[in-house]
Amino acid sequence: MKDELAKRLVQGLKDAGINFVTYLPETRLSQILPLLRDDPDIELIGAASEQEAVTIAAGATLGGKQAAVYMENTGIYVSSYSLLTIGKQLGVPILLVVGYLGGVPDQRNSFLYATIGRHTIPTLEGLGIDYMLLNDGERLEINIGDAMRAANAQRAPYALLFAGEFSV
């Protein structure tokens, strides 16, 4: 991902009101981490598991923060239990910022990732979590804002899947 796109992504999160981010690092969007770490308006919390990242973000949301979880799409599988029980059942809005490995638009797709990618969208649909696929920077900030608004309105997690230009 070009540095400019990483900066716009982080600014888009801030414009959408995000001020608390939990994460496990991954490869496609990792340039956003130093930007998040150095931003005084964002509290960045590293987690040991995506399931934990979701529960911490949920607690922060209930405590008045606007929270996002940054993860690889494998994290959707790892955190599906807490996404369903805390996110959906309890009804807690969380923005999921997901590096979408192994999908068709993943510019670094290979046999390592294809199975992971093949099942990501069906898994989100199975969990009843709405999502948006972003392949380029067009309307990036608007899309992030729309996703956060939808999460808050639905009182549920909403996933942004980043591939295409974001996965270069």
Binding site: E43, A48, Q51, E52, G63, G64, K65, Y81, L90
Partner: protein
């Protein structure tokens, strides 16, 4: 030591603390003992400590208490490493360890009835103030004293298996209702709007 007697001691100490429970008999016993609006009765195993951690980080000036069980902590051991590094000073965790999966109704043993020492694991993960409490006097002393200290505390409270929670009426407040009571209480006591509530 019986879990209910520990919860009775804790209930009288609650003023404006936030209390998060995971799923187990302690959720039922706590909801019966305490009608505090700052109770968040998370009804899922393995999620309570994470939610409590998020609350503690979001509201560093509020004391947050997590009530959990051995089975639940074993399901989310990654929390120990994160807690051991973040060390939120306003979080006190009580793990009521009866050594069995009591909710299963066949009470098969958990790992803590064998060789596993949760307090030792917590210390190794970086939680300095992690201890095993084996009797009610120790709970009264060390367990209660932690409420007034500004330090992360993790207590593994060794309790006998008790089926008292099966005789207590289960809470009839559904999860969403409890969540809204909780966040409205926070809005009132924190003097701020919780962003996701929005306007109708």
């Amino acid at each position: 030591m019986i879990r209910h007697e520990c919860l009775e001691l804790l209930a009288v100490k609650i003023t404006d603390q936030l209390v998060v429970t995971s799923q187990s008999g302690q959720r039922i016993e706590w909801s019966h003992l305490s009608k505090h609006e700052g109770n968040l009765l998370v009804g899922m195993m393995g999620c309570g400590i994470g939610v409590a951690m998020g609350l503690a980080l979001a509201l560093p000036h509020r004391k947050v208490i997590a009530l959990d069980s051995d089975g639940s902590v074993l399901l989310s051991l990654f929390n120990l490493a994160t807690l051991g590094n973040l060390r939120p000073k306003n979080l006190v965790i009580y793990v009521f360890d009866n050594g069995v999966y009591s909710g299963s109704r066949i009470s098969y043993p958990t790992a803590t009835s064998g060789n596993t020492d949760l307090a030792g694991m917590a210390r190794s993960a970086g939680i300095v103030n992690a201890h095993t409490i084996r009797d009610i006097e120790d709970f009264k002393d060390r367990g209660m004293e932690a409420l007034s200290r500004g330090e992360l505390a993790f207590f593994v409270c060794k309790v006998e298996e008790s089926l008292l929670h099966r005789e207590i009426p289960r809470p009839n407040t559904d999860l969403a209702e409890n969540k809204y009571t909780f966040v409205r209480y926070l809005e009132r006591t924190e003097g701020k709007t919780i962003p996701f509530l929005g306007r109708g």
